[in-house]
Each structure stands twice: as C-alpha cells, then as structure tokens.
Symmetry: C2
Subunit: 495 residues, 2 copies
C-alpha cells in the first residue's frame, strides 16, 4: 500500500511544470487535430450533419475521434484550476473547442477559476440549460460570484431550484459589492456549542467524509447563533477529549462584518496570519466565514488592478480579445490623455511667438515637462501607498510637502544643472542654460507639491487617491513645465 502511494506521489512533478506541460501537450494535440480537421473540412460542406450536431457538426474521421478521446482523457485528469489556465492561454476558437470537451459537471468549478473576460467568452458559448446545470453544482457563495456574468433567465432558474436556506444565502451574497467582505464570504462554517465535550465535537466531525477545505477552526455559538469563541482544530487535536468546549475555546482574533471593506479583511489576514475568520452581523450572530484562499485571490487581483489602472486599462483584458473589445477597454483613458495633451498644447500655443524667435525652446521644453512628470509620479506613488496602508495622517502633510520640496530642489539643482550645462554647450547660449536650470527646478518643486496635494485632496473628499492621480499629475507637470520654461524664456531671453 505504502509502495503504491509512494509511486503516486513520485509521479506528480512540481506545481508549475505540471500545468505548463499540460498546456504544451494539449496545444500539440490541438494542432494535430487541426491538421486532420483541415483534411476533412472539404467534406463538411456537402456531408450530412454527424452524430454531434450540437458540437460543431463536424464529420469526424477515426483519427480525429482518437485525438479527441486523448484530449478528453487528458482534460479529465486535470485540476479545474489547471483547465482554467489552459483555457486562458488559448485563442478563442481553440478555447471553445477545449471547453466543449470538458465534462459538463466540472463547468461550474472552471468558470469560477477563469478570469472575467475569458469567463464571458465561455458563457456566451453555452445555452441556458447548460448554464443552469453548471451553476447547480456550486455553493451559494460561488453562484453569487458568477451571477454578474449570467443571463437573467439562468439566474431565475437557479433561484427557483435552490432550497430555501441556500436561496437566502445566495440573495445575501449577491447583495455585496466585489470589494466588501460579504463578497469573499462562504457559508461552510462549522458550528459547535460551548457546553459539550470535545469528544462530542469529534463525534460530530466524524460524520463528515472530510471537513470543508480551509477549516482551521470551528465556531462556538449560543442558542441564537451568536459567536462566543472559536475552537482551533489544532487545539482540538492536542486537548483531552473530556474537556468542555467552553474551557478550550478562544476569543476570535478578528470578527469581520459583511459590509466592511474586503481590503481591511485582507490586511487582517496578512497581519495575523489567519486561515479563516468568522463573519458576524451587527448582533454578533455568525453569518459565515472568510478563508485565506479567497483573500489570496483578492489580493492578487487587487495588485493587478493597480497596475492596469496605471496603464489606463479599464479592466483586465483577455490577450485574445476582439479588436472591438480592446478598443472599448482602452478608449476612455486615451480620450482623457488627449484632453490633457491638448491643454498642454494650448499652453505652448500661447508662446508661439517666443518659439519663433528662439527655436531651441521647442527642442528643450519636453525635457522640462518630462522630468516633472516622472518625479511627480514617484511622490504620488509613495503617498498613495502609505495612505492605502493607513499610515498617512493629514497632520504630517506639511512636514511631507516640505521634505518633498527639498528633495525636488536637490534633484532640480543636480539634474537641472546637468541639462542646463548640456543646453549651454549645445546652443552656445549661457542665459538659455540658466533658464533651463531654473525651469527644471521650479517644475520639480511644482511636481513635489502637487504630488502631495493631489492624493491628499482626494482622500479628504473620500475618493480613492490611486484612481487617475497619475494622469492628473502628468497633466499638471506637462502644462506647468511648458508654462514655466517658456514663460521664463520669454521674460529673460526674448523680451
């Protein structure tokens, strides 16, 4: 027995290789299949529809069928998350081909694992019946996660097929925004009473084949389901079974509320190294739990969102998304960028007379604007991050602005000095070089103050300081940089 298990263990290579290998193998099989499909394609137009009318209506040769069977066997062996990974990596047509081969009873789990844009592409290939069947394999909290992407008629069917309790749970779970604790919560919390012995608890647990995943603690509740404490599984194991739950239980490290920000729950998990945490309502009644796997997904998604946002993508984009989808995802930020660029352009327009007289200004002005934008973004990123961690109090604003301005002053003198010297030598024009130094220093100082003030103002009005602040600072430092440089040049060099 130990032998066979040892072999089984030995067979499993490490995490990443496994799914990468699977992807390579599936891609190879698909390409092989494609080739064959191409050969029989000619017949398709003329031949009657085959025995899989709902699956593309292909006339299948023996080779095709063998290939397909091989693919199917491969897919059946894969973890749902690995299938999700494979689906994400394939272009749309191959993705849908694989999706059709996946066993229907795994559809639900896999839909949960794929990213939003890929999920949309999969769902749009399924009919109502298939979707209802897929949803019915899931728990209430999982259905709620899919709900925004499911057609209304599917949700109606699912609702009416659920038992009352789960229907209530689904309704509750759907009422939360993505960034609330309620959206991360599941209902697989195990509840025990305080006045029983651990022996009784163990007997109760043995009725399960296996405990719900991520169960590191049981929740101790009173008759009204109010949370009294928690019983860590690790404590349960090491303690004398005759002890009473009440004597062994501990106060929970945290109690979450459904309407709290998911961010704050994530901080708590990170700070206190939690595996699960109870969620209670305002009367301290236990309504569910949050587990670390959900938190990990949330944190990862959150980190990606920040990066996407900075690049001006509205949401995660499937690399294989259609041209039209990509255009929709990106146009908004491009439009905003155009508006700010236009304003900067008009600032330059005001000084066209000066540029006509001293055309070197046109070549040098992007340098002044650029360094301001770069430096302002550094300041803003640092402050947004500190604010996100709650480590930034308004009372420190003055000290911070002062410090940032001093840093800007030093940067301005150093880099402004370097560029001023270069401009001086290049154009053999000492006053031009001096104007360059002054303009760069002033624009860096503008960038520093705005880099502190913009996120602070957003915070004051309860807005997310990360959203759009990078665009705003760049707009300020571009227009400001052009204005400062061309203005100074007009004053000292032209007039």
């Amino acid at each position: 027995m130990s032998e066979t298990l040892e072999e089984a263990a030995g067979e499993r290579p490490e995490a990443r290789e496994r799914v990468q290998d699977a992807l390579a193998e599936i891609t190879a099989l698909l390409r092989k299949h494609r080739l064959v499909e191409g050969l029989v394609h000619e017949q398709l137009e003329h031949a009657p529809v085959g025995d899989h009318p709902d699956r593309g209506g292909l006339v299948e040769s023996l080779v095709t069928r063998q290939n397909k069977a091989q693919l199917q066997r491969k897919l059946d062996r894969l973890h749902p998350a690995d299938i999700a990974y494979v689906l994400e990596a394939l272009p749309l047509d191959e993705r849908l081909y694989i999706w059709d081969l996946v066993k229907a009873d795994r559809d639900g789990e896999i839909l949960l694992e794929v990213s939003e844009p890929v999920r949309e592409s999969l769902i749009s290939s399924m009919d109502t019946e298939e979707l209802v069947a897929a949803a019915e394999t899931l728990d209430a909290d999982e259905i709620a996660e899919l709900a925004p992407d499911l057609p209304q008629e599917v949700m109606d069917d699912v609702f009416s097929s659920l038992p009352v309790e789960e229907r209530e749970q689904l309704r509750a779970a759907m009422s939360f925004d993505d960034d609330m604790v309620g959206a991360l919560m599941d209902f697989e919390d195990l509840q025990v009473r305080a006045d029983v012995t651990l022996e009784v608890v163990l007997r109760y647990l043995r009725r399960f084949d296996e405990l719900p995943s991520q169960t590191d603690q049981l929740f101790v509740v009173d008759r009204d389901e109010r949370l009294l404490g928690v019983l860590p599984v690790n404590k349960l194991i090491v303690t004398d079974p005759d002890a009473l739950v009440a004597d062994v239980m501990q106060p929970p490290v945290v109690k979450l509320q459904q309407h709290e920000k998911a961010d704050e729950a994530a901080s708590a998990f990170e700070r206190y190294d939690l595996v699960s945490a109870p969620v209670v309502d305002t009367n301290d009644k236990l309504v569910g739990r949050v587990t670390v796997d959900e938190v990990l997904d949330f944190v990862r998604a959150r980190g990606e969102e920040d990066v996407l946002q900075q690049a001006g993508l509205r949401e995660e984009e499937d690399v294989f998304a259609s041209v039209w989808k990509s255009f929709q995802n990106r146009w908004a930020w491009l439009a905003i960028n155009l508006v700010t660029a236009f304003i900067a352009s008009r600032v330059i327009g005001v000084f066209e007379g000066s540029i006509e007289k001293l055309v070197a200004l046109a070549a040098l002005m992007p340098i002044v604007a650029g360094i301001g934008g770069n430096s302002g973004n550094q300041t803003i990123t640092m402050i947004v991050r500190a604010a996100a961690l709650g480590q930034f109090a308004r009372e420190h604003a003055h000290a911070l602005i002062r410090k940032e301005i001093v840093v800007a002053l030093i940067n301005g003198l150093v880099w402004g000095g370097v560029m001023g010297l270069v401009a001086m030598l290049l154009y053999k024009d000492v006053p031009l070089g001096l104007v360059m130094v002054l303009a760069m220093t002033l624009n860096l100082m503008l960038a520093a103050s705005m880099g502190v003030l913009i996120p602070m103002t957003m915070l004051k009005f309860g807005r997310d300081p990360a959203l759009g602040s990078s665009v705003l600072i760049t707009a300020v430092t571009d227009s400001g940089g052009f204005f400062i440089f061309l203005g100074l040049a007009t004053l000292f060099l032209i007039a």
Copy 2:
C-alpha cells in the same frame, strides 16, 4: 466560564478599527507626553542623568512617568503586527520613542513585521547585544529574513549561539534569493511514519501544547525522510483512529523545490487553494514547508513592487525617510528619464528649421508623442501580465501584433481624426490637420508593434519584461512621435 469568554470575545472590535484605534490612542498619548517633556526640557541640560540613562536620559516628571506607563501597558496588549503598524505610521523620533518602550522579548517578532525601510531605522537604533537577543527569540527561517539588515558581528554572535541543526537551517535559508521558494520556507513541518496508526499520531501530537500555526497537514516520510504523502489534519480528525497512516495519507497536491521561483509557488497556492505545501530536495527528501501566510505576504509585496517600479522608485520608501535616502531611492530613474528625454529633444533639434517656419508644429507635437506613449503602455501592460501568468506563447506573437495594429489603426483614425479637425480649425490649415491625423495613426501603430515586441524580446533573452519596459516604450513613442510628425510636416508642409 462561558460567560467570561463571551465577554472577552465581545470586547474585541473588528480587525481594522482595533489597530486604527490603537494608533490614535498612542498618538494622543505621545502628544500629551511631548507637551510634558517640553516643560521639563529646560531642566534636562542641567540635571544629572536619570534612572534611564540608556533610554534617552530624560529627567522624568511624575506625569511623564505615568504617561509612559500607560503607553507601555497599551503596547503590551497589542499584537506584534499591530505594533509594527503603529511604528510605520509615526515620524522617526516618535517611532524610536515607542520602540524603546516595547518589551525586548518582542523586538524580534516586530522587526519581522515592519517594512524594510522602517526595519532599518529601528535596527540602527539598537546595539549589538539588543540585536542578538532579539534574533535569538526567532526561528532559523525568521532570522534569515532579518539577516540582510543585521550587522555582521550580530550574525556571527547569533550563529555561534545556535544549536547545530538550527545553524544548518539558518545557513540554508540565507542562501536563497528573496524570490525563491527557499526564502519562503520554514522548518516547522511535522513528520510522521506511514506504518503507524492514527492513534499513535494523535498521541504524538498531544505532546504539543498547540501545533505550529498553519498546520493543515502532516508529512509522511520514510526512514530517509523521503516524502511519501501527506496526512491532512481534517482527514485525521474524521477517520477511525485504528486506521494506518499509509491507508489514509494522500499524495501531496504539489511538491515545491527550494530553488523554484517563489512566484510559481504562489501560483500553486492560489490555484489549488493550499494552506501549506511540502518542500523537497532533488532526492525527494523533505526539507521544510511553505505556508499560506508567507505566500500572502509575498504576493502583496510583489504587487506593490510592480506599482513602485512603474513609478520609478527603486524600492519601498518610508514616507518619513530622510531627504538623502529619498534622493538615493529616486535618482536612477530620473537620470534614465533625462537621457531618453534628451534623445527626444535631439530628434526635435533636427527639425528646428521646420519649426521656425511653422511654429504650430511645436505646439502640436507633444500630442502626437503623448497618445503614443499612453497607448503603448496599455499594450505592454496587457502582454506583461499575460506573460507573467504564463499565458503567452511566442507562436501567437504575429496574431497579436496584427490585432494590436488594427486597434491602433482604429484609435488613430478616431482620435487622430478628432485632433486633426481641431488643429485644422485652430490653425485654419487643412494640410496641417491631415498631417496630424497621419502622424497620430503612424505613432499609434509604432506604439502597438513596439508594445508587443519589447516585452517579447525581453522574454526571449530571459529578462523580466516588466522591468523598465514602460520607460523604453515611452522613449520610443516620444522620439518616434516627434520624428514622424515633424518628418511628415517637413515633407508635406515645408518643402
């Protein structure tokens, strides 16, 4: 009994409030204290050093001492992670004052929790003895985490004070880069044999007061410590104690290797919802385990790193860092930015003659460059993300470039059209408007192709495509945008 625990549970408010409240309270106490300290400050210069010569040598009034005691009580009640949070949120002088009040035996744990820059500030306030004492309260893997920030003499002392086994573990743990599995690993893996009954395992576990945190499974090993399988605690609880471990154990979902990328371990945790995973060497010998709390910290830090990198900050920066530290952290990217801006400036310089003849070009050129940069960054972000998830094969490159170029073409015609029209009306110059449309479209197409090619080339040479690709694309679209626009204008409008 249940009553008192109920009260204890009721006392704990939700996660975030707790630490925010603590911070507010401590800040208030500090400020009160400050006031008093100010009053007695006069005496300080003349009075003999008090009974706390090592702690700032203040002459303490009764009020001061009461305040201090109150602060200390408050701190003693806080979780180490919460103290870390408070320390991060305070300016340097207040931070060190609080740090001195923290009980010495908690120093190690807290140093582990604070961010790198804050850790440096705390460590530089401690002497060798204090540091050695702090390190000795920690496990080998934790000491390894602090090691890069500790002076060599401290590490020497710590090494010589450790038992042989831990010394080996420390040496092993220190040999890994931050982004390797070995750096996330701990040595608190519980090992059992396959040929014993669960009853024996349970008896073994009952010798602990509590199992190591994040213990969701025991590792089944043979005589040579080779990993045979895992025994989930949840399985252990629900199974008949007379069963043999060999009959209950399961193959591990993943086996990690010490030299694997931590990123890949994180993906495995996320994908398979793990709480812990075994780490084995090339002979399949169990060397340790990775737990989800470490993975969560890693993912969070990683997400932040991406954001910082995009803004051109070399590393995390303490908002209260000194001017000099801030300058050091930021200068490198500013310098790179200056170089690329200078190149763009020289491109403009080539066309100074054209600008002199048609000064509108100077005002319009930043628009062409700007939209290219924005759009190129969108493309690059999408591809870097897909590559990071391993979902991007080089074979799709052609299809992708084609798609991106079509999106660019549409964007160019739409937004180029809008700006061309505006330029036409503004300068009452139809050919200028047409050149604008053409230049914007071409620069967007340049941005699209480079947005795919830059990260792909970096991947090909085994480089991280995220690092610096944003700077590179902006450099290309700036210089390219100026060149395309001014070149077309020179061809069609000037010559």
